[in-house]
Protein backbone atom coordinates (compact mmCIF):
# COMPACT_ATOMS: atom_id res chain seq x y z
CA UNK A 1 0.00 0.00 0.00
CA UNK A 2 0.98 3.60 -0.38
CA UNK A 3 2.79 5.25 2.47
CA UNK A 4 1.30 8.66 1.86
CA UNK A 5 -2.34 8.96 1.13
CA UNK A 6 -4.50 11.96 0.62
CA UNK A 7 -8.14 11.75 -0.21
CA UNK A 8 -9.81 15.01 -1.07
CA UNK A 9 -12.42 14.43 -3.74
CA UNK A 10 -13.34 11.06 -2.33
CA UNK A 11 -13.88 12.46 1.15
CA UNK A 12 -17.34 13.66 2.16
CA UNK A 13 -18.39 17.24 1.50
CA UNK A 14 -21.24 19.05 3.17
CA UNK A 15 -23.16 20.50 0.27
CA UNK A 16 -23.41 24.28 0.33
CA UNK A 17 -20.95 24.77 3.19
CA UNK A 18 -18.30 26.25 0.92
CA UNK A 19 -20.79 28.61 -0.71
CA UNK A 20 -22.08 29.78 2.69
CA UNK A 21 -18.53 30.49 3.73
CA UNK A 22 -17.59 32.12 0.43
CA UNK A 23 -20.38 34.70 0.40
CA UNK A 24 -19.02 36.13 3.65
CA UNK A 25 -15.84 37.05 1.76
CA UNK A 26 -15.43 39.49 -1.09
CA UNK A 27 -14.74 37.77 -4.45
CA UNK A 28 -11.13 38.93 -4.52
CA UNK A 29 -10.46 37.04 -1.28
CA UNK A 30 -11.75 33.80 -2.79
CA UNK A 31 -9.43 34.27 -5.76
CA UNK A 32 -6.54 34.81 -3.34
CA UNK A 33 -7.39 31.58 -1.53
CA UNK A 34 -7.39 29.58 -4.76
CA UNK A 35 -4.16 31.25 -5.86
CA UNK A 36 -2.52 30.49 -2.52
CA UNK A 37 -3.60 26.86 -2.68
CA UNK A 38 -1.54 26.48 -5.88
CA UNK A 39 -4.34 24.44 -7.44
CA UNK A 40 -3.53 23.67 -11.06
CA UNK A 41 -5.82 22.67 -13.90
CA UNK A 42 -6.53 18.96 -14.00
CA UNK A 43 -7.31 18.71 -17.70
CA UNK A 44 -3.67 18.17 -18.54
CA UNK A 45 -2.04 21.56 -19.06
CA UNK A 46 -1.80 22.38 -15.36
CA UNK A 47 -2.41 26.12 -15.62
CA UNK A 48 -2.75 27.78 -12.18
CA UNK A 49 -6.50 28.00 -11.52
CA UNK A 50 -6.38 31.06 -9.25
CA UNK A 51 -4.43 33.03 -11.83
CA UNK A 52 -6.96 32.12 -14.51
CA UNK A 53 -9.76 33.38 -12.30
CA UNK A 54 -7.88 36.57 -11.50
CA UNK A 55 -7.35 37.31 -15.20
CA UNK A 56 -11.06 36.87 -15.87
CA UNK A 57 -11.92 38.95 -12.78
CA UNK A 58 -9.73 41.81 -13.99
CA UNK A 59 -10.93 41.64 -17.59
CA UNK A 60 -13.49 44.34 -18.39
CA UNK A 61 -16.94 43.11 -19.34
CA UNK A 62 -20.41 43.02 -17.87
CA UNK A 63 -21.16 39.46 -18.86
CA UNK A 64 -18.67 36.75 -17.92
CA UNK A 65 -18.90 32.98 -18.22
CA UNK A 66 -17.73 29.92 -16.32
CA UNK A 67 -17.35 26.87 -18.54
CA UNK A 68 -16.92 23.39 -17.18
CA UNK A 69 -14.94 21.32 -19.64
CA UNK A 70 -16.58 17.88 -19.53
CA UNK A 71 -15.30 16.87 -22.94
CA UNK A 72 -13.19 14.10 -21.50
CA UNK A 73 -11.81 12.43 -24.61
CA UNK A 74 -8.20 11.64 -23.82
CA UNK A 75 -7.70 7.91 -24.39
CA UNK A 76 -7.57 6.10 -21.07
CA UNK A 77 -9.31 8.87 -19.11
CA UNK A 78 -12.59 8.28 -17.31
CA UNK A 79 -12.22 10.18 -14.02
CA UNK A 80 -14.63 12.93 -15.11
CA UNK A 81 -17.28 10.36 -15.99
CA UNK A 82 -17.05 9.11 -12.42
CA UNK A 83 -17.24 12.64 -11.00
CA UNK A 84 -20.27 13.50 -13.13
CA UNK A 85 -21.94 10.23 -12.08
CA UNK A 86 -21.24 10.32 -8.35
CA UNK A 87 -20.14 13.85 -7.46
CA UNK A 88 -22.16 16.13 -9.75
CA UNK A 89 -22.99 18.61 -6.98
CA UNK A 90 -19.32 19.17 -6.19
CA UNK A 91 -18.79 20.21 -9.80
CA UNK A 92 -21.76 22.58 -9.66
CA UNK A 93 -20.69 24.10 -6.36
CA UNK A 94 -17.20 24.61 -7.79
CA UNK A 95 -18.70 26.38 -10.79
CA UNK A 96 -20.87 28.54 -8.58
CA UNK A 97 -17.89 29.51 -6.40
CA UNK A 98 -15.93 30.33 -9.52
CA UNK A 99 -18.82 32.46 -10.74
CA UNK A 100 -18.94 34.31 -7.42
CA UNK A 101 -15.18 34.92 -7.48
CA UNK A 102 -14.96 36.04 -11.09
CA UNK A 103 -18.23 37.93 -11.29
CA UNK A 104 -20.01 35.61 -13.69
CA UNK A 105 -23.70 34.77 -13.56
CA UNK A 106 -23.76 32.13 -16.27
CA UNK A 107 -22.18 28.70 -16.29
CA UNK A 108 -22.13 26.15 -19.08
CA UNK A 109 -21.17 22.50 -18.85
CA UNK A 110 -19.79 21.29 -22.16
CA UNK A 111 -20.66 17.60 -22.00
CA UNK A 112 -19.24 15.29 -24.65
CA UNK A 113 -21.77 13.49 -26.84
CA UNK A 114 -20.38 10.12 -25.71
CA UNK A 115 -21.56 10.97 -22.17
CA UNK A 116 -25.04 12.00 -23.22
CA UNK A 117 -26.46 9.31 -20.93
CA UNK A 118 -25.10 11.30 -17.97
CA UNK A 119 -27.11 14.42 -18.78
CA UNK A 120 -30.20 13.48 -16.71
CA UNK A 121 -27.94 13.07 -13.69
CA UNK A 122 -26.56 16.59 -14.13
CA UNK A 123 -30.02 18.06 -14.69
CA UNK A 124 -31.24 16.42 -11.49
CA UNK A 125 -28.32 17.86 -9.53
CA UNK A 126 -28.92 21.33 -10.99
CA UNK A 127 -32.62 21.16 -10.05
CA UNK A 128 -31.92 20.01 -6.51
CA UNK A 129 -29.30 22.67 -5.91
CA UNK A 130 -31.59 25.32 -7.34
CA UNK A 131 -34.29 24.16 -4.91
CA UNK A 132 -31.76 24.45 -2.07
CA UNK A 133 -30.89 28.01 -3.15
CA UNK A 134 -27.35 26.98 -4.07
CA UNK A 135 -27.90 27.82 -7.74
CA UNK A 136 -30.24 30.17 -9.58
CA UNK A 137 -31.40 33.60 -8.45
CA UNK A 138 -30.33 35.24 -5.18
CA UNK A 139 -28.25 32.34 -3.97
CA UNK A 140 -28.50 31.88 -0.18
CA UNK A 141 -30.59 35.02 -0.10
CA UNK A 142 -27.69 37.15 -1.30
CA UNK A 143 -27.52 39.46 -4.25
CA UNK A 144 -25.75 36.85 -6.36
CA UNK A 145 -27.21 34.70 -9.12
CA UNK A 146 -25.67 31.85 -11.05
CA UNK A 147 -27.35 29.65 -13.67
CA UNK A 148 -25.94 26.50 -15.18
CA UNK A 149 -26.83 25.14 -18.60
CA UNK A 150 -25.66 21.98 -20.30
CA UNK A 151 -24.32 22.08 -23.82
CA UNK A 152 -23.88 18.77 -25.58
CA UNK A 153 -20.87 18.19 -27.77
CA UNK A 154 -21.22 16.14 -30.92
CA UNK A 155 -18.16 13.90 -31.02
CA UNK A 156 -14.85 15.66 -31.53
CA UNK A 157 -11.78 15.07 -29.36
CA UNK A 158 -10.24 18.43 -30.29
CA UNK A 159 -13.08 20.24 -28.50
CA UNK A 160 -11.36 19.39 -25.22
CA UNK A 161 -8.87 22.10 -26.17
CA UNK A 162 -10.33 25.20 -24.56
CA UNK A 163 -10.49 27.51 -27.56
CA UNK A 164 -11.84 24.75 -29.81
CA UNK A 165 -14.42 24.12 -27.09
CA UNK A 166 -15.43 27.78 -27.21
CA UNK A 167 -15.80 27.64 -30.99
CA UNK A 168 -17.98 24.57 -30.59
CA UNK A 169 -20.04 26.31 -27.90
CA UNK A 170 -20.65 29.09 -30.39
CA UNK A 171 -21.99 26.54 -32.85
CA UNK A 172 -18.97 26.40 -35.10
CA UNK A 173 -16.46 23.80 -36.18
CA UNK A 174 -14.23 22.90 -33.24
CA UNK A 175 -11.10 24.57 -34.56
CA UNK A 176 -8.65 26.09 -32.09
CA UNK A 177 -8.29 29.87 -31.98
CA UNK A 178 -5.14 31.93 -32.05
CA UNK A 179 -3.98 33.06 -28.62
CA UNK A 180 -3.92 35.87 -27.57
CA UNK A 181 -6.56 36.96 -26.88
CA UNK A 182 -6.90 34.34 -24.17
CA UNK A 183 -10.35 33.11 -23.16
CA UNK A 184 -10.11 34.96 -19.84
CA UNK A 185 -10.14 38.15 -21.91
CA UNK A 186 -12.22 37.16 -24.94
CA UNK A 187 -13.80 33.75 -24.63
CA UNK A 188 -17.40 32.69 -25.18
CA UNK A 189 -19.14 35.29 -27.38
CA UNK A 190 -16.08 37.52 -26.88
CA UNK A 191 -16.79 37.79 -23.14
CA UNK A 192 -14.26 37.05 -20.38
CA UNK A 193 -14.49 33.31 -19.80
CA UNK A 194 -13.01 30.79 -17.39
CA UNK A 195 -12.73 27.26 -18.75
CA UNK A 196 -12.01 24.72 -16.01
CA UNK A 197 -11.84 20.95 -16.04
CA UNK A 198 -14.47 18.94 -14.13
CA UNK A 199 -11.95 17.72 -11.57
CA UNK A 200 -10.40 21.15 -11.00
CA UNK A 201 -13.81 22.57 -10.10
CA UNK A 202 -14.43 19.73 -7.64
CA UNK A 203 -11.39 20.70 -5.55
CA UNK A 204 -12.61 24.28 -5.15
CA UNK A 205 -15.26 23.77 -2.43
CA UNK A 206 -12.79 21.72 -0.35
CA UNK A 207 -10.18 24.48 -0.59
CA UNK A 208 -12.70 27.17 0.34
CA UNK A 209 -13.79 25.18 3.41
CA UNK A 210 -10.40 23.96 4.61
CA UNK A 211 -8.16 26.76 3.42
CA UNK A 212 -5.22 26.85 1.03
CA UNK A 213 -2.64 25.74 3.60
CA UNK A 214 -4.50 22.48 4.18
CA UNK A 215 -4.42 21.76 0.44
CA UNK A 216 -0.72 22.62 0.22
CA UNK A 217 0.23 20.20 2.98
CA UNK A 218 0.26 17.49 0.35
CA UNK A 219 1.98 17.01 -2.96
CA UNK A 220 5.28 18.31 -4.28
CA UNK A 221 6.77 21.78 -4.66
CA UNK A 222 5.18 22.43 -8.03
CA UNK A 223 2.14 20.16 -7.73
CA UNK A 224 -0.01 20.48 -4.64
CA UNK A 225 -2.80 18.33 -3.30
CA UNK A 226 -3.98 15.16 -4.94
CA UNK A 227 -5.05 14.04 -8.37
CA UNK A 228 -7.42 11.53 -9.84
CA UNK A 229 -5.90 8.89 -12.04
CA UNK A 230 -7.84 6.74 -14.46
CA UNK A 231 -5.94 3.48 -14.60
CA UNK A 232 -6.53 0.85 -17.25
CA UNK A 233 -4.70 -1.71 -19.33
CA UNK A 234 -2.84 -4.75 -18.02
CA UNK A 235 -3.64 -4.43 -14.32
CA UNK A 236 -5.70 -6.51 -11.93
CA UNK A 237 -7.50 -3.56 -10.38
CA UNK A 238 -8.30 -0.90 -12.96
CA UNK A 239 -10.34 2.13 -11.93
CA UNK A 240 -10.18 5.71 -10.71
CA UNK A 241 -7.71 6.33 -7.88
CA UNK A 242 -7.11 9.50 -5.95
CA UNK A 243 -3.41 9.76 -5.24
CA UNK A 244 -1.20 12.38 -3.75
CA UNK A 245 0.80 14.34 -6.28
CA UNK A 246 4.32 13.00 -6.45
CA UNK A 247 3.35 9.34 -6.14
CA UNK A 248 5.78 7.27 -8.22
CA UNK A 249 4.79 5.13 -11.15
CA UNK A 250 6.15 2.10 -9.29
CA UNK A 251 3.85 2.77 -6.32
CA UNK A 252 0.89 3.05 -8.67
CA UNK A 253 1.75 -0.22 -10.37
CA UNK A 254 1.88 -1.98 -6.99
CA UNK A 255 -1.42 -0.46 -5.95
CA UNK A 256 -3.30 -1.65 -9.03
CA UNK A 257 -1.49 -4.99 -9.04
CA UNK A 258 0.23 -4.78 -12.38
CA UNK A 259 2.48 -7.68 -13.26
CA UNK A 260 5.22 -8.08 -15.86
CA UNK A 261 4.87 -4.46 -16.81
CA UNK A 262 6.80 -3.41 -19.87
CA UNK A 263 5.60 0.14 -20.39
CA UNK A 264 3.32 2.76 -18.91
CA UNK A 265 1.55 5.46 -20.90
CA UNK A 266 1.19 8.53 -18.70
CA UNK A 267 -1.26 11.22 -19.78
CA UNK A 268 -3.12 9.32 -22.47
CA UNK A 269 -2.34 9.27 -26.17
CA UNK A 270 -1.02 12.84 -25.83
CA UNK A 271 1.27 11.81 -23.01
CA UNK A 272 4.51 9.87 -22.95
CA UNK A 273 5.23 6.17 -22.86
CA UNK A 274 7.84 5.27 -20.28
CA UNK A 275 9.91 2.12 -19.84
CA UNK A 276 10.99 0.38 -16.66
CA UNK A 277 14.04 2.62 -16.15
CA UNK A 278 11.66 5.51 -15.40
CA UNK A 279 9.20 3.75 -13.09
CA UNK A 280 10.74 5.50 -10.08
CA UNK A 281 9.75 8.91 -11.38
CA UNK A 282 7.02 10.82 -9.54
CA UNK A 283 3.74 11.79 -11.14
CA UNK A 284 3.86 15.57 -10.89
CA UNK A 285 3.96 18.51 -13.26
CA UNK A 286 7.71 18.95 -12.75
CA UNK A 287 8.48 15.34 -13.67
CA UNK A 288 5.84 13.25 -15.42
CA UNK A 289 2.89 15.55 -16.11
CA UNK A 290 0.01 13.57 -14.63
CA UNK A 291 -2.81 14.34 -17.06
CA UNK A 292 -5.16 11.83 -15.55
CA UNK A 293 -4.70 8.70 -17.57
CA UNK A 294 -2.39 5.80 -16.90
CA UNK A 295 -2.41 2.86 -19.28
CA UNK A 296 -0.29 -0.15 -18.40
CA UNK A 297 1.20 -2.53 -20.98
CA UNK A 298 2.63 -5.87 -19.98
CA UNK A 299 5.47 -7.75 -21.62
CA UNK A 300 3.21 -9.58 -24.07
CA UNK A 301 2.20 -6.36 -25.81
CA UNK A 302 3.58 -5.19 -29.14
CA UNK A 303 4.64 -1.55 -28.74
CA UNK A 304 4.30 -0.89 -32.44
CA UNK A 305 0.68 -2.03 -32.36
CA UNK A 306 0.08 0.39 -29.49
CA UNK A 307 1.80 3.23 -31.30
CA UNK A 308 -0.24 2.53 -34.42
CA UNK A 309 -3.46 2.72 -32.38
CA UNK A 310 -2.43 6.13 -30.99
CA UNK A 311 -1.44 7.49 -34.38
CA UNK A 312 -4.68 6.30 -35.98
CA UNK A 313 -6.46 8.16 -33.20
CA UNK A 314 -4.67 11.43 -33.96
CA UNK A 315 -5.13 11.15 -37.73
CA UNK A 316 -8.86 10.82 -37.13
CA UNK A 317 -9.13 13.52 -34.51
CA UNK A 318 -6.87 16.18 -36.03
CA UNK A 319 -9.24 18.99 -37.03
CA UNK A 320 -7.31 19.61 -40.23
CA UNK A 321 -6.96 23.32 -39.70
CA UNK A 322 -3.16 23.59 -39.57
CA UNK A 323 -0.69 21.77 -41.80
CA UNK A 324 1.85 20.50 -39.22
CA UNK A 325 -0.85 18.53 -37.42
CA UNK A 326 -3.00 17.50 -40.38
CA UNK A 327 -0.13 16.24 -42.51
CA UNK A 328 2.23 15.40 -39.66
CA UNK A 329 -0.09 12.92 -37.96
CA UNK A 330 -0.74 11.29 -41.34
CA UNK A 331 3.00 10.93 -42.10
CA UNK A 332 3.78 9.54 -38.66
CA UNK A 333 1.08 6.90 -39.07
CA UNK A 334 2.42 6.08 -42.51
CA UNK A 335 5.86 5.67 -40.92
CA UNK A 336 4.49 3.34 -38.27
CA UNK A 337 2.93 1.21 -41.00
CA UNK A 338 6.31 1.09 -42.78
CA UNK A 339 7.96 -0.09 -39.56
CA UNK A 340 5.27 -2.72 -39.20
CA UNK A 341 6.14 -4.01 -42.66
CA UNK A 342 9.86 -3.88 -41.93
CA UNK A 343 10.32 -1.20 -44.58
CA UNK A 344 11.37 1.84 -42.57
CA UNK A 345 15.06 2.72 -42.92
CA UNK A 346 17.02 4.21 -40.05
CA UNK A 347 17.46 7.30 -42.16
CA UNK A 348 13.73 7.68 -42.69
CA UNK A 349 13.10 7.24 -38.99
CA UNK A 350 15.37 10.27 -38.43
CA UNK A 351 13.28 12.22 -40.92
CA UNK A 352 10.16 11.24 -39.01
CA UNK A 353 11.73 12.31 -35.70
CA UNK A 354 12.49 15.71 -37.23
CA UNK A 355 8.92 15.95 -38.44
CA UNK A 356 7.63 15.05 -34.98
CA UNK A 357 9.72 17.81 -33.42
CA UNK A 358 8.49 20.29 -36.01
CA UNK A 359 4.91 19.39 -35.12
CA UNK A 360 5.64 20.06 -31.44
CA UNK A 361 6.78 23.58 -32.29
CA UNK A 362 4.62 24.52 -35.25
CA UNK A 363 1.17 23.08 -34.55
CA UNK A 364 -1.51 25.56 -33.64
CA UNK A 365 -3.00 23.82 -30.63
CA UNK A 366 -2.26 21.20 -28.01
CA UNK A 367 -3.51 18.35 -30.17
CA UNK A 368 -0.81 18.74 -32.80
CA UNK A 369 1.83 19.81 -30.30
CA UNK A 370 1.31 16.72 -28.16
CA UNK A 371 0.44 14.14 -30.82
CA UNK A 372 4.14 13.36 -31.46
CA UNK A 373 4.81 12.59 -27.76
CA UNK A 374 3.78 8.96 -27.95
CA UNK A 375 5.61 8.52 -31.26
CA UNK A 376 8.87 9.95 -29.93
CA UNK A 377 8.74 8.20 -26.56
CA UNK A 378 7.88 4.78 -27.97
CA UNK A 379 10.46 5.07 -30.74
CA UNK A 380 13.14 6.15 -28.25
CA UNK A 381 12.31 3.78 -25.42
CA UNK A 382 11.57 0.66 -27.44
CA UNK A 383 13.83 1.03 -30.44
CA UNK A 384 15.07 -2.53 -30.24
CA UNK A 385 11.57 -3.87 -30.42
CA UNK A 386 10.11 -1.82 -33.22
CA UNK A 387 12.97 -1.31 -35.67
CA UNK A 388 14.21 -3.66 -38.35
CA UNK A 389 11.31 -6.06 -38.29
CA UNK A 390 10.97 -8.87 -40.79
CA UNK A 391 9.73 -7.69 -44.12
CA UNK A 392 6.09 -8.30 -44.81
CA UNK A 393 5.32 -9.84 -48.20
CA UNK A 394 5.01 -7.29 -51.02
CA UNK A 395 1.31 -8.04 -51.57
CA UNK A 396 0.34 -6.39 -48.28
CA UNK A 397 0.97 -3.08 -49.92
CA UNK A 398 -1.55 -3.65 -52.75
Amino acid sequence: MLGKKKQILFSPLEQGKALKKAVSFVPKEIIEQIKNSKLRGCGGAGFPTGLKWELAYNAPGKQKYIICNADEGEPGTFKDRLLITDHAKKILEGMCLSGYAVGATEGIIYLRAEYRYLRPNLIKAIDEMTADSLLGKNILGKNFSFNVNIHLGAGAYVCGEETALLESLEGKRGEARNKPPFPTEKGYLKCPTVVNNVETLCYVPYIVINGPDWFKEFGTIESKGSKLFSISGDVKKPGVYELEMGTSVKEVLDLVQAENTKAVQVGGASGVCIAEKDFDKPLAFESLPPGGSIIVFNKSRDMLHILKNFMEFFVEESCGQCTPCRDGTFRLLEGVKLMEQGRCSIHYLKVLRDLAQTMQIASKCGLGQLAPNSFLSIVDNFKGEILARDRAPESVHA
Partner: protein
Protein backbone atom coordinates in the same frame (compact mmCIF):
# COMPACT_ATOMS: atom_id res chain seq x y z
CA UNK B 1 -38.02 8.35 -41.09
CA UNK B 2 -37.15 9.17 -44.68
CA UNK B 3 -36.19 12.77 -45.12
CA UNK B 4 -36.71 13.03 -48.85
CA UNK B 5 -40.19 13.76 -50.21
CA UNK B 6 -41.42 15.36 -47.00
CA UNK B 7 -39.96 18.82 -47.37
CA UNK B 8 -42.98 20.65 -46.00
CA UNK B 9 -42.97 18.83 -42.67
CA UNK B 10 -39.21 19.17 -42.49
CA UNK B 11 -39.41 22.92 -42.94
CA UNK B 12 -41.98 23.16 -40.17
CA UNK B 13 -39.87 21.00 -37.86
CA UNK B 14 -36.82 23.16 -38.54
CA UNK B 15 -38.77 26.34 -37.84
CA UNK B 16 -39.92 24.88 -34.56
CA UNK B 17 -36.40 23.99 -33.45
CA UNK B 18 -34.86 27.27 -34.60
CA UNK B 19 -37.56 29.21 -32.77
CA UNK B 20 -36.90 27.24 -29.63
CA UNK B 21 -33.36 28.62 -29.72
CA UNK B 22 -34.59 32.12 -30.63
CA UNK B 23 -32.75 31.96 -33.94
CA UNK B 24 -29.39 32.40 -32.23
CA UNK B 25 -26.42 31.61 -34.47
CA UNK B 26 -24.40 30.13 -31.56
CA UNK B 27 -27.07 27.47 -31.09
CA UNK B 28 -26.39 25.92 -34.49
CA UNK B 29 -24.85 22.77 -33.04
CA UNK B 30 -27.85 22.26 -30.73
CA UNK B 31 -30.24 22.87 -33.59
CA UNK B 32 -28.49 20.34 -35.81
CA UNK B 33 -28.33 17.80 -32.96
CA UNK B 34 -32.09 18.05 -32.43
CA UNK B 35 -32.91 17.69 -36.11
CA UNK B 36 -30.43 14.83 -36.36
CA UNK B 37 -32.27 13.17 -33.46
CA UNK B 38 -35.61 13.45 -35.26
CA UNK B 39 -34.59 12.21 -38.72
CA UNK B 40 -31.35 10.35 -38.03
CA UNK B 41 -29.41 12.52 -40.44
CA UNK B 42 -29.15 15.91 -42.10
CA UNK B 43 -29.55 16.19 -45.86
CA UNK B 44 -28.89 19.07 -48.22
CA UNK B 45 -32.42 20.41 -47.88
CA UNK B 46 -32.18 20.51 -44.09
CA UNK B 47 -28.87 22.33 -44.20
CA UNK B 48 -30.19 24.89 -46.67
CA UNK B 49 -33.31 25.52 -44.59
CA UNK B 50 -31.35 25.85 -41.34
CA UNK B 51 -28.94 28.26 -43.04
CA UNK B 52 -31.84 30.33 -44.36
CA UNK B 53 -33.54 30.62 -41.00
CA UNK B 54 -30.32 31.63 -39.23
CA UNK B 55 -29.29 33.98 -42.06
CA UNK B 56 -25.93 32.28 -42.58
CA UNK B 57 -24.30 30.55 -45.56
CA UNK B 58 -25.23 26.93 -46.25
CA UNK B 59 -21.52 26.14 -46.41
CA UNK B 60 -21.23 27.18 -42.76
CA UNK B 61 -23.93 24.72 -41.76
CA UNK B 62 -22.35 22.04 -43.93
CA UNK B 63 -18.97 22.74 -42.30
CA UNK B 64 -20.40 22.15 -38.85
CA UNK B 65 -22.54 19.15 -39.85
CA UNK B 66 -19.52 17.35 -41.31
CA UNK B 67 -17.11 18.23 -38.50
CA UNK B 68 -18.73 16.23 -35.72
CA UNK B 69 -18.90 12.45 -35.70
CA UNK B 70 -22.29 12.32 -33.98
CA UNK B 71 -23.97 14.32 -36.74
CA UNK B 72 -24.79 12.34 -39.87
CA UNK B 73 -25.06 13.65 -43.39
CA UNK B 74 -26.16 10.32 -44.87
CA UNK B 75 -29.01 8.05 -43.73
CA UNK B 76 -28.09 5.76 -40.82
CA UNK B 77 -29.69 2.85 -39.08
CA UNK B 78 -32.24 3.36 -36.32
CA UNK B 79 -29.62 2.12 -33.90
CA UNK B 80 -26.02 3.18 -34.30
CA UNK B 81 -23.58 0.79 -32.70
CA UNK B 82 -20.34 2.56 -31.85
CA UNK B 83 -17.61 0.17 -30.78
CA UNK B 84 -14.68 1.78 -28.99
CA UNK B 85 -11.47 1.21 -30.93
CA UNK B 86 -9.02 3.05 -28.67
CA UNK B 87 -6.13 1.42 -26.89
CA UNK B 88 -7.60 0.09 -23.62
CA UNK B 89 -10.59 -1.47 -25.36
CA UNK B 90 -8.25 -2.67 -28.09
CA UNK B 91 -6.09 -4.47 -25.52
CA UNK B 92 -9.21 -5.91 -23.88
CA UNK B 93 -10.35 -7.63 -27.07
CA UNK B 94 -12.12 -5.12 -29.30
CA UNK B 95 -11.22 -7.14 -32.38
CA UNK B 96 -13.23 -10.20 -31.33
CA UNK B 97 -16.25 -8.03 -30.55
CA UNK B 98 -15.90 -6.39 -33.96
CA UNK B 99 -15.78 -9.77 -35.67
CA UNK B 100 -18.80 -11.07 -33.77
CA UNK B 101 -20.88 -8.00 -34.65
CA UNK B 102 -19.81 -8.17 -38.30
CA UNK B 103 -20.86 -11.80 -38.54
CA UNK B 104 -24.12 -11.30 -36.71
CA UNK B 105 -25.29 -8.29 -38.69
CA UNK B 106 -23.75 -9.31 -42.00
CA UNK B 107 -22.27 -5.86 -42.58
CA UNK B 108 -18.88 -4.20 -42.37
CA UNK B 109 -18.00 -1.25 -40.16
CA UNK B 110 -19.27 1.92 -41.80
CA UNK B 111 -22.30 0.13 -43.25
CA UNK B 112 -26.00 -0.06 -42.40
CA UNK B 113 -28.16 -3.20 -42.48
CA UNK B 114 -30.56 -3.39 -45.42
CA UNK B 115 -33.61 -3.18 -43.10
CA UNK B 116 -32.28 0.17 -41.83
CA UNK B 117 -32.09 -1.06 -38.28
CA UNK B 118 -28.37 -1.02 -37.45
CA UNK B 119 -25.32 0.97 -38.43
CA UNK B 120 -21.94 -0.33 -37.34
CA UNK B 121 -19.19 2.15 -36.56
CA UNK B 122 -15.95 2.44 -34.70
CA UNK B 123 -15.58 5.33 -32.30
CA UNK B 124 -12.70 6.72 -30.29
CA UNK B 125 -12.36 6.47 -26.51
CA UNK B 126 -15.75 6.57 -24.76
CA UNK B 127 -14.26 6.61 -21.26
CA UNK B 128 -15.00 3.01 -20.31
CA UNK B 129 -11.31 2.07 -20.38
CA UNK B 130 -11.40 0.19 -17.07
CA UNK B 131 -14.30 -1.97 -18.26
CA UNK B 132 -13.50 -2.66 -21.89
CA UNK B 133 -14.35 -3.68 -24.47
CA UNK B 134 -17.20 -1.18 -24.58
CA UNK B 135 -19.74 0.15 -27.05
CA UNK B 136 -22.51 2.67 -27.31
CA UNK B 137 -25.85 1.86 -28.92
CA UNK B 138 -27.41 5.28 -29.47
CA UNK B 139 -27.32 6.74 -25.93
CA UNK B 140 -26.84 3.51 -24.00
CA UNK B 141 -23.41 2.32 -22.91
CA UNK B 142 -22.43 -1.37 -22.67
CA UNK B 143 -19.16 -2.61 -21.21
CA UNK B 144 -17.20 -5.66 -20.10
CA UNK B 145 -18.26 -7.20 -23.39
CA UNK B 146 -17.38 -10.57 -24.78
CA UNK B 147 -18.45 -11.69 -28.26
CA UNK B 148 -21.54 -13.56 -27.02
CA UNK B 149 -22.66 -10.79 -24.70
CA UNK B 150 -22.24 -8.16 -27.41
CA UNK B 151 -24.40 -10.14 -29.83
CA UNK B 152 -27.07 -10.75 -27.18
CA UNK B 153 -27.28 -7.03 -26.46
CA UNK B 154 -27.63 -6.17 -30.13
CA UNK B 155 -30.36 -8.81 -30.51
CA UNK B 156 -32.45 -7.07 -27.87
CA UNK B 157 -32.76 -4.14 -30.26
CA UNK B 158 -33.92 -6.31 -33.15
Amino acid sequence: MKLESMNKQVTEEIQKVVEKYAGRREKLLQILEEINDVYGYLNEYVMKEVAKSLCIATSEVYGVATFYSFLNTTPKGKYIIRLCQTISCDLAGKKQIANALRNELGIEFGQTTSDGKFSLEFTNCIGMCNQGPAMLINDEVYYNLDPEKAVEIVKKYQ
